[in-house]
């Protein structure tokens, strides 16, 4: 099972919202929507692993850290994200990271 981690992203949220709308108009069943989301999980995990090839560096100050259920959650302040092409600065960022080692089982299940 792939991580359901990516559901709370722009891509994932827009999918969930769209599915919700279809459920409300009863065009699909919640069960079907769930299946779609599971499929999304697989697709996004695969896509990220295979289709993305870029590196980012970042630096900031760590405000909080948490490690629970093998999930790290950090909150950083005054962070600079650097890619070859550009630089992005934010005052505050939350990082949620699941275990990246060969993922045998999904985090959410």
């Amino acid at each position: 099972m792939a991580y359901q981690l990516y559901r709370n992203t722009t891509l994932g949220n827009s999918l969930q919202e769209s599915l919700d709308e279809l459920i409300q108009t009863q065009q699909i069943t919640p069960q079907l929507a769930l299946q779609v989301l599971l499929q999304f999980d697989k697709a996004i995990n695969t896509a990220l692993a295979n289709r993305v090839r870029n590196r980012v560096n970042f630096r900031g100050s760590l405000n909080t850290y948490r490690f629970c259920d093998n999930v790290w959650t950090f909150v950083l302040n005054d962070v600079e994200f650097r890619e070859v092409t550009d630089l992005v600065k934010v005052d505050k960022v939350k990082i949620v990271a699941c275990d990246g080692k060969n993922t045998g089982s999904g985090a959410a299940e």
Binding site: L11, V36, A97, D99
Partner: protein
């Protein structure tokens, strides 16, 4: 496709994910006996939301580009007709605005949410459809164009066939001074000044018709009160007032409350409506009145401490909270990175992060990475 080292990989990635998902799901849909049409609708909804979120740039199909071209044209048309109908105030369109007027209408999902939340009836449905579909076609009598700055130009064809251009943040120059600030808080006192000459009390209007369109952009604190062109309104068109009035009243009452609290001291015209609770200005008369009223309530004793007691209570209570109030920031975007970790290392208070396969949303935009390395000090 040409090799594009510099181009943004995000739209392509997203599109490929959407394609994959839709294709994989097609079977599931058929198994459930759901029509292909629904699948297409899902795809459309999904893509539209992505576009609306502005998180991805350069997202989408030729259709969307054609739509954008249409929107640009219509924006120009509206702008032209605006200039015709605008007699005086030229409104002080902040100079910034003139450029973006011709831009593609980029819509903020929050606008949609806020619009739905305002519960305006006749404006809402048409607006919602127009907004969600980003189709500036003649949807109903109502067209809405939203510039990139979130300013809303509304073209309303009113019942009597006249066409009004509603512009937000219009500085209403009546008899009163021109308010130099283009801040949202300005709107309320201006409105009140308009209203009070007509009626000292409740802001009913035959004089000024204020289209009840409050758009509250979350986190933006911009309350845009769309106002119909003055010249048109001042000629008092009672026929038009009906439904708009009722809604306008409720809206106005809400708005003055909020905005008066923001500006207690800025504008103090002779007859100032105070819709919020007493206690802004300390006066002994008010104290006495409050005492009499409040005797029955237990909380009085706190209030008796003085008018200021009311204000002090809030800070007193807030000190009970130990946390840093992380939620305090009005986050337009909570910048989030969702990823997987390869290694997390710590030495004393120096942390090193080795992450992979992540999606980031920073300052409203989406980024992806296959690897990320970071340092931070705790």
């Amino acid at each position: 496709m040409a090799s594009s080292a510099n181009s943004n990989p995000v739209p392509k990635l997203y599109r490929s994910v959407i394609d994959d998902v839709i294709n994989e799901v097609r079977e599931l849909f058929l198994d459930e006996g759901v029509d292909e049409q629904v699948l297409m609708e899902l795809r459309t909804l999904w893509e539209n939301k992505l576009m609306q979120s502005k998180a991805v740039e350069g997202f989408h199909t030729e259709e969307q580009q054609a739509l954008q071209a249409q929107q640009q044209q219509q924006a120009q048309q509206v702008q032209q007709s605006q200039q015709q109908t605008q007699t005086q105030h030229q409104v002080i369109l902040p100079p910034q605005q003139q450029a973006p007027q011709q831009q593609v209408i980029v819509q903020d999902p929050k606008i949609l949410q806020a619009m739905n939340a305002t519960g305006m009836s006749f404006l809402q449905s048409a607006a919602a459809t127009a907004a969600t579909l980003a189709l500036p076609t003649g949807v109903g009598p109502y067209q809405q164009l939203i510039t990139s700055q979130g300013q809303i130009l509304q073209v309303v064809r009113a019942a009597n066939g006249a066409q009004y251009i509603i512009q937000p943040q219009q500085q209403v120059v009546l008899q009163q001074q021109v308010l130099p600030q283009m801040q949202p808080g300005v709107q309320a006192p201006v409105i009140q000044q308009v209203l009070t000459p007509l009626q000292g009390g409740i802001p009913q209007q035959t004089g000024v018709i204020i289209q009840p369109q409050q758009i509250v952009l979350a986190g933006n604190k911009v309350q845009q009160n769309a106002q119909v062109m003055q010249t048109a309104t001042m000629t008092t068109q009672p026929g038009q007032v009906s439904a708009a009035q009722v809604q306008a009243q409720s809206q106005q009452q809400q708005q003055p409350q909020q905005q008066q609290q923001q500006q207690p001291a800025q504008q103090q015209p002779p007859m100032m409506l105070q819709v919020d609770g007493a206690g802004d200005t300390s006066s002994e008369e008010d104290e006495e009145e409050e005492d009499e009223y409040d005797e029955d309530e237990d909380e009085d004793k706190d209030k008796d401490g003085g008018e200021d007691g009311q204000v002090e209570e809030e800070p007193l209570n807030s000190s009970d909270d130990v946390s840093d109030e992380e939620d305090q920031e009005l986050f337009d975007t909570e910048n989030v990175v969702v990823c997987q970790y390869d290694k997390i290392h710590r030495s004393k208070n120096k942390w090193k992060f080795t992450l992979k396969d992540g999606i980031m949303n920073l300052n409203g935009r989406d980024y992806v990475f296959s690897k990320a390395i970071g340092d931070a000090e705790w």
